[in-house]
Each structure stands twice: as C-alpha cells, then as structure tokens.
Symmetry: none
Subunit: 276 residues, 2 copies
Amino acid sequence: MSNASVIKSLLKQSKQQGLDAEGPTPLYHQLYKLLKEAIIDGTVSYGAQMPTEQQLAEAFGLSRITAKRAMDELAAEQLVERKRGRGTNVTYKYKPKPVQAPLVGMLESLESMGRHTLIKVLDIAELIPPADIRQEFALGDTETAHRLLRVRSTEDEKLPFAYYTSWTVGLKNGFTRKLLEQTTRFEILRKSGIQIAKIEQTLSAEAAKPEVARELDMRAGDPLLVLVRRSYDGDGRLVDVLHGLYNPQVFQYRMSMALDDNGTTKVAPKAAPKKQ
Amino acid sequence: MSNASVIKSLLKQSKQQGLDAEGPTPLYHQLYKLLKEAIIDGTVSYGAQMPTEQQLAEAFGLSRITAKRAMDELAAEQLVERKRGRGTNVTYKYKPKPVQAPLVGMLESLESMGRHTLIKVLDIAELIPPADIRQEFALGDTETAHRLLRVRSTEDEKLPFAYYTSWTVGLKNGFTRKLLEQTTRFEILRKSGIQIAKIEQTLSAEAAKPEVARELDMRAGDPLLVLVRRSYDGDGRLVDVLHGLYNPQVFQYRMSMALDDNGTTKVAPKAAPKKQ
DNA sequence: CACTATTTGTCCGTATGTATG
DNA sequence: TCATACATACGGACAAATAGT
C-alpha cells in the first residue's frame, strides 16, 4: 500500500493541529481542513490516492460517515475526484512559488543600493520630532531635526518595496529633492561635514499602518520587515535614525556564513529585492 | 446610554471579522471570540458594562439565547461577572506591555543561545514534508524527513518568543526529547556524522498562524520576524532547513558595524531576547 | 411601601445540524 | 439508508434580582 505512509504522515500532523472532539468546530470540518492543507501544500501530490473512508475513520477514531463528509467537501471544491470502487484521487496541482532567485548584486548595507532601484521622495521637512525621537537625540522640547519620507521601488517593475522614515540632526543646508534622487543620503551627510563611524541595526517586524500600506501597495495590518538603523559620528554622537519598512514579499534580508571547525563565523550580509 | 459606543465599536469589528451564520463554527462561539478579543485588548476596559443580551441579539441579528451563551462562556472564564437585574461587567484587567528596554547579551547565531533560554519540544516526527521542502531536498513523493517543532522562551520569565520548525535529512537515529533538551541540535547533527560547512540565512516577516500564535502567546495575524536558515554539509548538500518565527515584541535581531573611511564594513551580528 | 423598567435565569417546544452504529 | 442521540439556534414565556420612582 503506497498510501500507508500518507496516512501515517497525516496522523502525526493531526496530533499537532489536533482533531478536537470537544471543541466547537465540527469534526468533519476539522478533518476537511487538515486534508485540504495537506493537498494545498503538496504533502500529498497531484494524482495521488487519498486514504479510503475506512482508513481515515480508523486512523482518526471517527465514524465512516464523518470521514466521508470531509472527503465530499474536498470533492465539492474539486480538490479531489471520487470514483465508486476506485477511491479518491487528488486533482489539485501544487504550484511551487517561483523559487527565490539567487540574489543579484551584493550590498554592504540595506540602504545603499543605488543601481537597480528607484527612490521617490514623499516629504522633506525640518520639524520638532515626536517624543521618542527627541529623547534619542537628547533634543529639547522646541529643537528641530530634518525628517525625510521616502519610498524605494524596483526600477524595472516599479514595484515599491521599502518605506523609509529618517531623522537627522546637525545638517547645515538640509536636503533637496534633486540631491536625494541623484546621490545617496550617506554622501550628502559626508559633504555636510558629518562622518559616520559606527552604525547599529536592529531587525524586527511590525504590522503595516494604513499610510505605509498605501505606498507599498499592501493592506493595512500586513506584516513588514523593520530595519532601524542608528548612525553615530566619530565622537559617538547619534546623528541619524532611519526606520525602514520592507514588504517581505518583495524584499528579504539575506546573509551567508562559512563555518570553520570551531563554529566561528565569517559573516557576509547581502540584501536585494527578489525577482518576481 | 454609555455602552452605546461599545456596541458600535463591536459591530464595526464584526464587519471586519464577520459573524458567519453559514460557516461551520457555531454562532455563540463566534460571538464569544469577538467579545473576548475586545476584552483582552482593552477595547472594553475593566469594570465597564457589557451590552445586554437583548442589545447584542438585536445588534448582531441573533436570538437572545445565543447572545446569552456567548456571555456565559465569558463568565465561565472569569472575564466578566454577571448579575441578575444589573447586567454584565468586565472583570479582566488589561495590562499594556511595558516599553522595550535595550538589549542584553551577545550571540553568534540566532539559534545557539543555550544559557538564558529554555527549549520546549512540541513534536518529533519522521514524515513526508510538504512539496516546497521536498523540492529543496530533492526528495521523492514518499520519502520522509525528520521534523522538529520547538518553542524557545526566556528562562526567568517563561516568556515564549520563538517557534521553530526544522526539517532534517540523513539522520540515522532521529532526535530524542532528552537529547534536544540537553544539547544543541547542531551537536546532534555532528554526532550523527553530519558536518555543517555553510549556512544561508534569510530574514523576513510574516503573519502568525493560529497554532503558532497560540504557542507564542500572540494573536493570529500578528507580525512575526522570520528567519529561514539552510545548512549545507561539506559537499554543498542541503541537510537542514530551519524556520524560526520570532515575536518581535520580545526578540529582535541586532547587528553592529564599524565603518572605515572607504565604507568597508566589519560586521558583528548579535541577537538576544529583550528584557521586559 | 408598592410600582415599574431593566436585566439575567430558567423552562418549553420546535427545527436543523452533527455524529454514531 | 435508517434510527438514534446530542448540540445548536430560534421564539416565546415567566420567574427572580436590582435599581429607581
């Protein structure tokens, strides 16, 4: 029996997700959901024979009718085909997501990726920052800083994938739209006499706010990859805070490490927009 | 009427989540869940009066008995207190999470952080992987791999912050619970004759599925930081795929870089659970 | 004190859905 | 397919506690 292993695999799965006879959701629906997942994610593949009603009933400890109903629901959605005397076969074709193409280019820093991406400047302003930012810079209640709102997208597909909010102190002339679209922010700082000596980066995740979701072509509440980068000058003073919000569908942060025998690591971070 | 606004808010919520009379899960349970969320996240606060059974019934278009049952379930969990003639009041105290403190400790790899954390093994199984994993390992339709489900939490506060799913091929004896709780997975691989020579890590973000949310004490749909790590042996063969899902409230990935004049970087990744 | 409105508690009868053997 | 048991959901009716007039 080739499907003996299939049943076994499903059973183990059920221990995790649990078929709960006590819970409020009906058993046939729990089983249906479990089977559907196994089909959708390709655990049982196209054309494969599903377990029989009898086998399911025994394996999960339910009656045959309950197993039948679960399978009927699958059939109603055309995920399987049922034939009297022949059994039930999967008719859903699992489509693997386009494999993550090996990353192009290699970038030392998440933000300095001039070539194949496009920057749109949403806003340039010098204003009083919110309390948390003021505290980080140790600014007084009325002191100002330069805030930038920008969106980065792929040049070819015009697919927006990053939303940046940055706060900078100690700028003489501020930013201009033209400068920002041509050169990097890093360069502008350097020309303004500010030399970055150290950066601290933190990666996290958060839900997209509506205004960000709109710009990134996502829905509010969708998960975002978050990069917070604090840049310090030679004297250890914080001069810039950057919040980068990335659509994880399009952009991922990637790094590769070679291990020697001790387990010591050599790290080489890379990052790039994925190919669709 | 002071609770008019509460009802209004709940109704809007219901349009979001939707009370579905057709669906398989019973109405009283759907309503119960909706109300519970509103209480847990502080939408209706401690001591506040809940809508009456009559109001709920009208607002959601159900019978009083159904509304009553939902409220009774809340009372059974001591989330509310019910008194004849007086109504139903919230007895759950919403606790806002304290502000994130700076990180402590330093770790070479996200997974090898033995000291101050605790691992719980949810499941050990040898089963047929879903198609995407099978493809990565180049496995046939019936070949199996070893799957581990684990949860990592802080030792002191017992605060779960990471949910690991890992797939491993080429294991002789599989894993045992005892081994996993004592030594690292990395060690077990080494003893099984598998030497890891290179790893590839990708950081991303995704929404929490219900079974993960449950283990991490979060809500389904909440954003998670995702680490996917592929480990290769000396011959460049993929031997292990690890999916780490991290609660970003508790855990962040941090790295620090020193810059020289050229902009060349020396990277030192660190990661640690935050202090509450 | 009674009277009333409000709100929950309890019970009935009925129809439909779920699950078993 | 059938008979059976139990859960869900509805509408209605009445009782009991509470608070205000």
